[in-house]
Amino acid sequence: MTTTVKEKKAVKLDNITGSEAVIRSLINENVETIFGYPGGAIMPIYDALYDFDKELKHILTRHEQGAIHAAEAYAKVSGKPGIVFATSGPGATNLITGLANAMVDSTPVICITGQVHSHLLGFDAFQETDVVGISMPVTKWNFQVTKASEIPEVLAKAFYLAKNGRPGPVLIDITKDAQLENFDFLYQKVNKVPTFYPYPKINNDALLKAAELINSAKKPMVLAGQGIKISGAEEELKTFINKTGIPVASTLLGLTSFSSDHPLYFGMLGMHGSYAPNIKSNEADLIIAVGMRFDDRVTGDTSRYIKNAKVIHIDIDASEIDKNIKTDAAVIGDAKKVLEKLIPEVNQKKHEQWVNEFNELKKEEYDKVIKIDILPNTEKFRPAEIIHTISGKCKENAVVVTDVGQHQMMAARYYSLNTKNIFITSGGLGTMGFGLPASFGASMAAPDKQVVLFVGDGGLQMTIQELDTIRRNNSNIKIVLLNNSYLGMVRQWQELFNEKRYSFTDMDNPDFIKIAEAYSIKSSRVTKREELDSAIEQMFADNNPFFLEVVVEREDNVFPMVPGGAAVSDIILAKNDLKK
């Protein structure tokens, strides 16, 4: 970051335009970076931006979807809301996928969209869409500004709402006349919004009940979710686990909330998660879910999920309690604060026998799956070995980004993540095309960090235009394309459940190296094992972007797997285990 803007007090400026007010409001909220794309209805704001190039860095992506995914990752890395500008109509509708993604993955993003003149609203004017209506179900809050005087308060609210409580995306739609109107500007940060209740005070009875359940459990297990990362409770979780001796598993978005080399960590939950935690969930007598929401990819068939267990659910969002899974003790609150209070109430313990059982299953998975995946005797590359190898060569605080598909699950499984890593992936929405722009946003938030992207040949082509954004900013991003020339994850399902009827999953791809060259990004394609080490070395040799295409085994599968609709304990380790 070249400019650092210091905390500013309330700012007052007479007779400025709504557009300038937008810019000054952002500066007041310590915004440094904006991802956006101009157009007619947002031109006044872009015109105002022209005078603030020292205070604000604007990144012109190549598509609005690229802008919002970049902003999402920027938010995850920087801890500040990601800011997006887009014009009305198609500009605004191009944001919808990103909003939905940010909504379900609790990411603070603030989108500012231009809108037609207020007197044209509802008349089907050129590039008018009801973006407030369209985005309503996929935003935490949205608002249409029709008067300049509303701008400071609405933006202050937007910042407060996006980042507090359970974070989420906000969209502010500003009509062109409001952007052009002059008014007397006064900016004051907001620290409360009526009807918004961000941080529940912790109920002591619930807390004590949870502690009692924990102290009397024989086979307890912790499910760690993204809430731990959002509240910054990694240390508290570690202390809690070290004291109670309870085995931990993580959700996809919870990865990095707990170090994967801790002896009580047993991997990821759910559909392509690890063997031990999936099987043991259904044997546990107590499930302690922290900052997670029992997504169906985690639970499998809920009617056969954790039926032997009492359930403690710790979450900041009361509407997640009893939504998918009934709880015995619900502690509603910020994960960090709850864990802080819970730690002194729980007994020091070791669950040796129980943990041994986890370790046996872990070993079985290692022997039957992992060892073969990462040290294959196949002629062709397997994605797991690539991820495993690169993981070993990355810095310990690297930002690891993925797209969606088999390579995503492989990255989640085989990249050895610790709490210093940042792992960025599209979880709840599974948005192909997320990865490349997200890697760029991550790099903008932390230019000094190593950013590694694992992407598939399908997803790469959904937002491939952002290679140009990476080129222009010379971002230090290592793009690793795991090219199986298939929509691999769908192909895997077709192989396992549709008798190999590969309906429209064969990709017949272009020459990706030529594409990388066209964008002046250094690149290399590897097909043979003996080429890999030198290619990786070349990739990490400098701080420029690099595009590494690894041609992998076409019909590789991700195992273990909980087949759709099965119980988590029916997880299989190989295709042969599939019940006919």
Partner: protein, 178 residues
């Protein structure tokens, strides 16, 4: 088991809020049986009265999701025996109904309804009551030839004494804000 639930949704007076509220129901394929919106005794605070038929479990989930909407203060969920409620019905009959001897006035009196206005061509009758009652009057009036009939959604009040301000203050105190 499905039951009738009356939800009192206490909100700010914002454009688009009703839309946001109804989407929470439609997303779950829940049919809203009746809906009424009105200002409360507190300025700028509105109450939607929404009636649905569903299980307690799903209704509670929906109520919590409604409470998350920015603009919604609080959602109260009531079963039938926890509230007092009313609906309003209007009936338009041709003026000839007055002259038909059967004594429209007597019917109106017996049903605890009232004649709202008598015009040159028609008369208007108003009745407040539960659906069963307004329906009974509708059926009784049928032979006169009903020109138009309309019934409002339910408005409801909970039986307990606690005033809204107290509920809101309690909720306010249950949270922190920075």
């Amino acid at each position: 088991m499905e039951k009738l639930f009356t939800l009192l949704i206490v909100t700010e007076n914002n454009i688009g809020l009703l839309n946001h509220v109804t989407v929470v129901f439609t997303r779950r394929h829940m049919n809203i049986r009746s809906i009424t919106a009105s200002e409360s005794k507190i300025k700028d605070i509105y109450t939607y009265t929404i009636v649905i038929k569903n299980t307690r479990e799903l209704t509670d989930i929906v109520a919590k999701q409604l409470e998350k909407i920015i603009g919604v203060f609080k959602v109260f969920v009531y079963e039938e025996d926890e509230i007092i409620y009313q609906e309003l019905a209007l009936y338009k009959l041709p003026i000839s109904a007055i002259n038909e001897g059967v004594g429209i006035e007597k019917i109106v009196r017996e049903h605890n309804a009232r004649i709202l206005s008598i015009e040159k061509e028609y008369i208007l009758i108003e009745k407040t009551g539960h659906k069963k009652e307004t329906q009974a009057l509708l059926e009784t009036l049928e032979p006169f030839g009903i020109l138009q009939f309309i019934r409002s959604g339910r408005v409801a009040m909970a039986k307990p004494m606690k005033p809204l301000e107290e509920h809101l203050a309690e909720k306010e105190n249950a949270y922190e804000y920075i």
